[in-house]
């Protein structure tokens, strides 16, 4: 069908087949080749312009992991990531597979044309014809569904609709419809030979529209329709690089490039700022981004899945992750000099030649770094990296950050913890629990170091987590010590808010302490400490085996070294996923198994769980900033949790504990307790030990 034509009588030999360029004068055939070559050249040229723009970015090594990249590429080609949303997936599969089969079918036809041995004959031809009919129908069905979604159903996440969307849909529809019309005319010109019934749509079209025409008339109509069909394809070639339809090519490649040479939870490493002078930090001008961060923007399908799962966007903050991607792309295009791509929205005005000409600092500071956008992007765009690099610029180059964050910075500088508490009181939480504290300069003699974190050390609610964890470890016979006053903040809040200097200052001190003490294995109950120590300390010479307490508790329970009690029997417990445990480190099941191991409890799930889990609102140093815009994220999440009618909300992160507990209090639900996993296990044992288990009893 596509670009296909045949002469009136089938092949010259009378075989079941068709003659390519049948009924098409030689002059038109030459024009076909010239224009096709010309437009392919144009497409290549337009892509080259984009390529030159991507090249403006800095280095980003994506050369390793060849097998993983190949697998991701094929996942992209076969719509695996897209089908995570069933409705959109089915629509898009019809459209995509339909188009691809037609495209490959046309190329096959051309190969058959130039090949000395003709293979599209007999039954092969009939099967070929039939398959292409099905593909054409699939394409039209997909287009109708796509149009229905965009113009009638309007699901929330699609968000903005631009003339570009109509242009793409109309072009594709024109290709499909003109193809069937040309085919109908072709069959009519051939006098409806019986075997062409296999091209059932074309047959029916021919019968319906052209069977009444005199033969000469049909010959003319066929030529016109053939030209129209060809023209629609040329239009497609022209819009391919300059509209979002380019994602057909860029997205699978982006998925292949997605696997990074650093762990998922790690931010982009920076040189040692204590020793090296750097001119600029973070990303502001297009040249500050990496080539991959720029390439990403051309792989975006504008589907809005990122925005639909963004906790900031969902609660009325100015951040829209899709807009971040598109805005970086727009700025890249508008500042491209000679290489400015076509089809850039001319309405957009830049107030500066940097990304901050389009992106406001409020957008950047609204991010909780929960990574829901990255994890739900079907084409592997790395949005969080861009935002965090922009934060690095705002924080260190412009000092443009919320004032409250300045207080946390000062506390980190002066007291080595964001609360600004005296370091000497760091081990006070362990009172009466007989926990070994390593003195400065002494080696670690226990098997594990328990890294308590600032929250567990200084925050009243979280001291209960540290006490519960320590009690359970002792109960299970785990040999551990703590650093006490020589433990400093890991630097997570500094790094996630862009203050790389402060992060490195703290990180280097901690790594020195840990290495001096000969620490190999670390236990921590804080997912933020866990993430930084697991994924980022290796960037600066700190290599440890770090285990989150959820994994350790599960292990101890599995081994029978820890047996949860039944003091919580009958309770309904809903689990809230921590972003830095789940999306940043793929730890989803251990917390669930730990909660489920408690005797007689009912474990509940919220609708938004695992990769789609909704952040508590404290990540990315948001813990230390005021939330002035929109609904409070923690209240939104608490409302969702309360919707499951729980007795207890289980968390596995100190910040989630504070945020959801505050949320429950704000809703006046003192009857619902919020507790860390360790608190729940301790509460199930009902030990009577002070400051352990759930506050206010079981």
């Amino acid at each position: 069908m596509l670009l296909a034509a045949t002469n009136a009588a089938g092949s010259a030999s009378g075989e079941v087949s068709r003659e390519t360029f049948g009924n098409i004068p030689y002059g038109l055939e030459i024009l076909f080749y010239v224009l096709a070559a010309g437009f392919v050249g144009l497409t290549a040229y337009l892509f080259t312009i984009r390529f030159l723009n991507w090249k403006r970015g800095g280095a980003d090594d994506r050369s390793g992991y060849v097998a993983e990249r190949a697998r991701e590429f094929s996942r992209g080609m076969f719509m695996k990531t897209l089908l995570l949303d069933k409705r959109a997936g089915v629509m898009h599969s019809l459209l995509y597979y339909g188009f691809m089969v037609l495209f490959i079918g046309t190329i096959t036809l051309e190969i058959n044309n130039v090949s000395p041995v003709k293979f599209l004959v007999g039954n092969t031809y009939l099967a070929y014809s039939f398959i292409l009919e099905i593909a054409g129908l699939a394409l039209i069905a997909g287009l109708i569904l796509a149009a229905a979604r965009r113009y009638v159903l309007k699901p929330y996440r699609l968000g903005k609709t631009s003339p570009e969307d109509a242009l793409i849909l109309i072009t594709l529809l024109a290709i499909a419809v003109s193809g069937f019309l040309a085919e109908g005319a072709r069959i009519a010109v051939a006098g409806f030979p019986n075997f062409e019934r296999w091209s059932f749509v074309g047959w029916a079209t021919g019968k319906l529209l052209f069977s009444w025409m005199p033969h000469d008339g049909v010959v003319g109509v066929h030529r016109a329709l053939w030209l129209l069909h060809f023209a629609t394809f040329l239009l497609f070639l022209a819009i391919l690089p300059i509209t979002k339809v380019r994602h057909a090519i860029t997205s699978p490649i982006n998925l292949a490039l997605h696997k990074r040479e650093r762990p998922k939870g790690a931010m982009r490493p920076m040189p040692n700022l204590m020793e090296e002078e750097v001119e600029t930090i973070g990303a502001s001008a297009i040249e500050d981004f990496t080539w991959k961060q720029l390439y990403d923007t051309d792989a975006c399908t504008v589907c809005g899945r990122c925005t639909s799962v963004c906790p900031a966007n969902g609660t009325g903050k100015p951040l829209d992750p899709r807009e971040i991607v598109l805005k970086v792309g727009e700025v890249m295009a508008r500042t491209g000099g000679v290489a400015t791509p076509v089809m850039v929205d001319q309405e957009i005005t830049l107030t500066a030649d940097t990304v901050f000409g389009r992106v406001s600092s409020d957008e950047v500071w609204s991010c909780t770094s929960c990574k829901a956008c990255d994890e739900n992007c079907p084409v592997g765009i790395e949005i969080l990296d861009k935002i965090l690099d922009m934060r690095r610029y705002l924080s260190l180059m412009e000092s443009d950050f919320p004032t409250e964050l300045g207080v946390a910075y000062k506390n980190l500088e002066n007291s080595s913890n964001p609360w600004g508490m005296g370091q000497q009181s760091r081990a006070e939480w362990a009172e009466g629990l007989d926990v070994k504290v390593i003195e400065p300069g002494e080696p670690l003699e226990s098997e594990y170091l328990y890294w308590v974190g600032c929250a567990g050390s200084f925050d009243d609610r979280n001291r209960r987590v540290a006490r519960s964890t320590a009690l359970l470890l002792k109960h299970a016979g785990v040999d551990f010590s703590i650093l006490g006053p020589s433990e400093l903040c890991t630097g997570d809040p500094a790094r996630r808010s862009g203050n790389e200097y402060l992060f490195q200052m703290l990180a280097f001190q901690n790594i020195e302490t840990l290495n001096e003490a000969g620490v190999k294995k670390v236990i921590t109950h804080c997912p933020h400490c866990f993430n930084v120590m697991t994924n980022e300390y290796p960037q600066y010479g700190g290599e440890y085996e770090v285990i989150h307490h959820s994994e350790l508790l599960q292990h101890l329970i599995d081994e029978g070294r820890l047996t949860p009690g039944d003091a919580l029997a009958g309770k309904r417990i809903v689990l809230h996923d921590s972003c830095y445990l789940g999306r940043h480190n793929d730890i989803y099941e251990p917390p669930r198994k730990v909660v489920a191991s408690i005797g007689g409890v009912q474990v509940l799930e919220m609708d938004r769980n695992r990769t789609k889990s909704f952040c508590c609102g404290a990540g990315g140093a948001r813990m230390w900033m005021e939330e002035r815009m929109g609904k409070k994220i923690n209240v939104e999440r608490t409302d969702e949790a309360l919707g499951t009618e729980p007795d207890i909300i289980a968390v596995a992160c100190p910040f989630c504990l504070v945020m959801l507990d505050d949320g429950a209090k704000e809703r006046g639900r003192d009857d619902v307790k919020v507790g860390d996993l360790s608190m729940l296990i301790a509460a199930s044992l009902d030990t009577g030990v002070q400051g352990v288990g759930l506050p206010g009893g079981g």
């Binding site: 009466g432 003091a567 009902d686 030990t687 009577g688 002070q690 400051g691 206010g696 009893g697 079981g698």
Partner: protein, 262 residues
């Protein structure tokens, strides 16, 4: 005399605590033995009353005679069982009934249902007079009231911890006004400062009274606006942890074994 274990219950990092004598072998005259040792309480452990593992009987004597229930003897006995045999006890059967008791590290605990609060009312004036205190030192937020398992303690709430520490009661008068004894206390957050005077049962001042700390929690749950779920009771040289949840009230503390005597 048979050999006995010399313990201190409700210690603070090895120091202080309320002395306790524990006999694990049968003793002929328990009352005389307890009087001879002279500790506020002496506990005599029996064998397992049934085939149920971890259940033991215990009888508790003051120098004056047997009592149905007391906190520090049960906590001390539960601690000692694991110390001796590595054989944890879950329950102790005392004349009052079956009490859940267990050890966690260097601490031991017991659980009990909350005792009933109230009943007979005390004459506040004679209580204050017996304590030789200024009526203005009492807090108006809480009443003088009785609470306890079996024998009931009289709770006397003070506003300032310092006033409690300075008390010099008239013990003869205390005998006259108290059913068992007067438990004087003041609160700072979840920290309690207390002293307990029980001359009528032969103990002028008890160094650490578990049963009263337990009853205090029930008393606070009834009368305090901000009923806490955890308390730390500092009574003379003793430190008692108290907590309450749906399953009952738990008291406990650190236990130290000073040796075996005979």
């Amino acid at each position: 005399m048979a050999s006995w274990y010399d313990l201190r219950v409700f210690c603070t990092e090895g120091l202080g605590g309320n002395p306790l004598a524990v006999f694990t072998e049968p003793v002929e005259d328990m009352r005389a033995t307890a009087a001879a040792i002279g500790y506020s309480e002496t506990v005599f452990l029996g064998g397992e009353p049934s085939s149920r593992a971890g259940v033991r009987t215990a009888r508790i004597f003051t120098p004056e005679g047997e009592i149905p229930f007391a906190g520090h003897p049960i906590v001390g006995a539960a601690w000692l069982f694991e110390e001796l045999a590595g054989n944890p006890v879950n329950r102790l059967v005392v004349p009052y009934g079956e009490i859940e008791a267990w050890r966690v590290g260097d601490r031991a605990y017991l659980r009990s249902e909350p005792p009933e609060v109230g009943g007979a009312s005390d004459d506040p004036f004679s209580v204050v007079e017996a304590l030789r205190a200024d009526p203005a030192d009492l807090t108006p937020r809480l009443p003088i009231a009785r609470c306890g398992h079996g024998a009931r303690w009289t709770f006397v709430p003070f506003a300032e911890p310092q006033r409690v520490l300075e008390l010099e009661p008239d013990f003869d008068m205390v005998k006259g006004v108290a059913e068992v004894g007067l438990y004087c206390f003041a609160m700072r957050g979840d920290e309690v400062t207390s002293r307990c005077f029980a001359p009528s049962v032969g103990i002028a001042e008890d160094p650490g009274t578990g049963s009263a700390a337990l009853a205090l929690m029930a008393y606070l749950a009834r009368f305090s606006r901000r009923s806490p779920s955890e308390l730390t009771v500092n009574q003379t040289e003793c430190r008692i942890d108290v907590s309450m949840n749906e399953r009952g009230i738990v008291i406990g503390g650190e236990v130290v074994l000073d040796g075996v005597r005979s």
